[in-house]
Amino acid sequence: MRLRGFGWRHAGRRAWAVRGVDLRVRHGERVLLLGPSGAGKSTLLAALAGLLPEDSGEREGSIEIDGRPPAQTRERVGIVFQDPQSQLVMARSGDDVAFGLENQGVPAGEIWPRVDEALHRVGFPYHRHRPTAALSGGEQQRLALAGVLALRPDLLLLDEPTANLDPAGADLVRAAISRAVDDDTTLILVEHRVADALPLVDRVVVLDAGGGVRVDGPPDAVFTDHGDALAADGVWVPGRQVPARRAGNPPGEVLLTADRLGQPPRLAATDLAVRAGAALAVLGPNGAGKSTLALLLGGLLKPGTGRLVADAGLAGADARTPPHRWRAPALARRIGSVFQNPEHQFVTGTVFDELALGPRRTGASEAAVRRRVDELLQRLRLDRLAGANPYTLSGGEARRLSVATALATAPRLLVCDEPTFGQDRRTWRELVDLFAELRDAGHALVAVTHDAEFVAALADRTLTLARPPDTGVAPPVAPTAPSVTAPSPEPPPPATPAGYR
């Protein structure tokens, strides 16, 4: 694989997504590709996979795989993306692995043995008839990997394959990668969490935000010689602790009490108390109902079982009404919610209007709105983007904006679902600092998270949810009423009060 001064600009964009990359990778090398968000890592992988048609943008320099352009080597290159939902094609697991083999015209007699072999290599635990919709995120990601491995690629490209997964699921995917990749396969991996990825690679390439390759070499040398500079740039350099931000004051009054709060079949009955001036981290595997709990605490979902009681300190005169029945402006002044997918929350056409929306809706004066918005733009490094469309922001910028919009109405309680997911180290630290300041100013914070470092740095208490018993149907990402034809779920498990640590 050889790149000479490679660059790519998507049609209709002024800035180059990636530029000036000179890189040579030999057969069998395993490369970790790093760089701050927006450096063009995903674009580079797409180019290598031959997924950038000539008419979809402008190219500069050259890119070759074994001397040929990527468009001609597509059947020898496999790529796994971040989101399992949008890369599985078929309804049954085995059919999905067979999909690529059918496309390549593999004789029918060879297909099923190769499917079974690929499923075995990634440690897929079910029969190939298992519906893809009934798999957890980690299982889906291993299935996607099997679908690529069945094609026996020479070059395997992995674009943050574990970013959406809980730690246990991510470990299994990494184990599957290390087991499944043989010595002849070249591997290029994009991954934010460097320490987890290091056992899989023997070379590290860091792209520079301004274009080109910044550092290139064996992992030890790269991190010994350039660790400080890389860390300052937002790269997760292994072994570098981030300072913890523990609460300076003891927790204050109780703002919100959950009494056997649940939402069968996704969330078993849970007891908890949310206190002012404290940060609570909600942990647990994928499918344990963490996101559902966040929606319930955010007053966005009617509890299926149990009660959610707001204290007068949070709700004033409304304390007798459960939060899901508050009017929306009242809710937004009291409880801010940050969703897992920032784009769900964007309503307006510019970053400025997005931040101004909450204060305007809750009746602030225009001068106060402007003051508040300017302050948030400064604080979250969004001031240059005030006129930009929220949908055009990078992942890190969109996350900072979604947190800022929740803070715009100065709610006493902030509920966040995976606030640090997919963030580079710089944004991560800014978020932790911001949350710590809020907490020390007497706000309450509830964060649903898989991020152990985030918990270590910030959480005063943790609550670990267990996965409800398997009903054969994967818990949906978002709560929905069970459909009429779905097999009826098992009764909710005997309520186990989730324990505090």
Binding site: Q87, V89, G100, E102, N103, V115, E343, H344, V347, S483
Partner: protein, 266 residues
């Protein structure tokens, strides 16, 4: 919401038939019924449809759950005709001021309602007994449909249930941002439109990602595709298609013989 996934016992004799054969049989059975406005032919068709239901392995209760929205449509037809029918000849059954219900009005309404059911039921039965993957396979293998269309539609179909979840997510996310219509109908409509727009943007993004993932695995790359799951179209499948045609013609024949046949045209 009407479910679309199969609910039949898969080993029932007619449920096992080739999906393309079932689809063709349903069309050949239903389309001729459109030719007449009388109640007799559709009534015979419905009787036959209900009689063969056990052969498809579908329980009556399940069928009822799927077709109840049609009942609402039937009531709509009935009310509309009673109020607005032009032909008010025949015996007067009810005279309530401006609304005169006559035997002709009721007969026309009955014909239309029965036709609605007779034409819709075969389609409902086919989709209740057919796995979408099998249908796509059979369309490609037995009906020579382009794989780009059949497999592409199948993949898109798999994403449909996500849209409902996505909608709820967007509504909740907006409530969290203090965006809620309250009781004002104009605000409600505007919020609905803007929520639908957000949903559409998200669906297009997800669809694009899926298309890229399919491309990356060589879909529609110009290589002739092989098939992992073979669909057979045998004598029994031909028999089903022929039988459906014959039975539909017979139902029309009875209607003609009884003199009730009222052609749609002429």
């Amino acid at each position: 919401m009407i479910g679309l996934e199969p609910v039949a016992r898969p080993d029932a004799p007619l449920a096992r038939r080739n999906p393309v054969a079932k689809l063709a049989a349903a069309l050949l059975f239903a389309v001729p019924l459109l030719a007449t406005l009388d109640p007799v032919a559709p009534a015979i068709a419905i009787t036959i449809e209900l009689a063969v239901l056990p052969l498809f392995g579908v329980r009556y209760r399940v069928l009822f759950r799927r077709v109840w929205p049609l009942l609402a449509a039937a009531v709509g037809v009935l009310v509309t005709l009673v109020l607005f029918a032009a032909d008010r000849s025949g015996r007067v059954l009810l005279d309530a001021g401006p609304v005169v219900v006559t035997s002709t009005v009721l007969l026309t309404a009955l014909g239309l309602v029965l036709r609605l059911f007779a034409v819709a039921l075969p389609g409902v039965i086919v989709f209740a007994t057919t796995d979408p993957t099998d249908l796509a396979d059979a369309l490609v293998q037995n009906a020579r449909a382009p794989a780009r269309f059949a497999i592409g539609a199948l993949a898109a179909f798999r994403l449909l249930p996500l849209l409902g979840q996505e909608w709820q997510m967007i509504v909740m996310a907006r409530r969290a941002r203090a965006v809620e219509a309250g009781r004002n109908p104009v605000a409600k409509l505007r919020l609905f439109v803007s929520t639908a727009f957000t949903l559409l943007v998200g669906a297009i993004r997800r669809g694009t990602r899926l298309a890229v993932a399919m491309d990356a695995r060589g879909f529609d790359a110009g290589v002739p595709r092989t098939v992992a799951r073979r669909q057979h179209f045998g004598a029994a499948d031909w028999l089903l298609v022929v039988a459906a045609t014959v039975v539909a013609s017979a139902a029309l024949g009875v209607s003609v013989a009884l003199g009730t046949f009222r052609p749609l045209v002429g």
